[in-house]
Symmetry: C2
Subunit: 149 residues, 2 copies
DNA sequence: CTATATTGTAATTTATTTTGTTACAGTTTA
DNA sequence: TAAACTGTAACAAAATAAATTACAATATAG
């Protein structure tokens, strides 16, 4: 009573703390009120390697949230008002995998359920993600930052 | 301009495909209409190791979704009607980490932002998770299974 | 103009997490 | 009583994430 094995499609996952890191960075920059903040200082607050911070800053920059200045006394600052940064945008900027789990599953196409499950899981993931994004879109970086003492 | 390093609290993460696996298992069992299905057969459909299936079945059993029979001709079946299994319950049964990312961050308590960020991230994660659960609670295993041809 | 502080990024290593494998005891049934 | 199962534990392998090293490029202060 065993189905023959079979494999095929493949996807990357990514369950890491990038959302937390990005939000931490953005909060620090909001509190800095436009003053440039170095990646070393940021890394010291998050307690992670400065190179990771710079990679995350690079992504945030590509999404228009921050801008950076190179050279001595350089650093980063917000590129737009914290009122205009919604958390769904931040989530979308860092998100790389599905909300409910990785999707590198390669079910057996000879099984009637296995053959279709990815399609139905995708539908489910997509609709739940929409709800999540809608929820996050109601909160701005300014709101988040304001909650700090 | 660098904050001194400091570490402390620690959490486990878990970004894997357990939700997909559990839902796959439950769908197979629903389609089996009460007939016992072996972990080897299930593993063949999902295309993963049978031991992983048995571990997941163990968890589903502990949550009252399935029952299993040991010994020759043994296997598993649903312990309750697919109408009475909501997807938020399945999610809760497999979930071990935060929705928006792992939470093993150990920010610097000497930084005013680092000191409080975990509290605020937790709040955010909690409220978004509530929304997600509410969305999933509107869908049953029967609904999910029905979508298959 | 030069030393220094900084960003930006690539390449590599290390750590962590997830998945798979092996092994085997216990349970039923034919 | 042999065979087909479940249930777990222990370990190995693979995949992913994070840290580290290295260094070129850039800007500023002195």
């Amino acid at each position: 009573m065993a189905l023959p094995l079979y494999c095929n499609n493949y996807n990357y996952s990514m369950n890491n703390s990038r959302f937390a890191i990005s939000l931490h960075i953005l909060t620090l920059l909001e509190k800095a009120k436009g003053e440039l903040m170095s990646s070393d200082y940021i890394a010291g607050s998050i307690n992670i390697n400065p190179v990771l911070v710079r990679k995350e800053l690079s992504n945030l920059r590509n999404h228009g949230f921050v801008e950076s200045k190179e050279g001595k006394n350089g650093g980063s600052s917000l590129a737009k008002s914290a009122d205009n940064i919604c958390l769904d945008e931040v989530y979308s900027a860092v998100k790389q995998n599905n909300l409910l789990g990785v999707s590198k599953n390669t079910p057996n196409p000879q099984c009637p359920v296995g053959k279709q499950i990815n399609k139905h899981l995708d539908n489910l993931y997509e609709s739940t993600e929409k709800v999540l994004l809608k929820e996050l879109s109601g909160k701005t970086l300014a709101d988040f930052s304001r909650a700090f003492d």
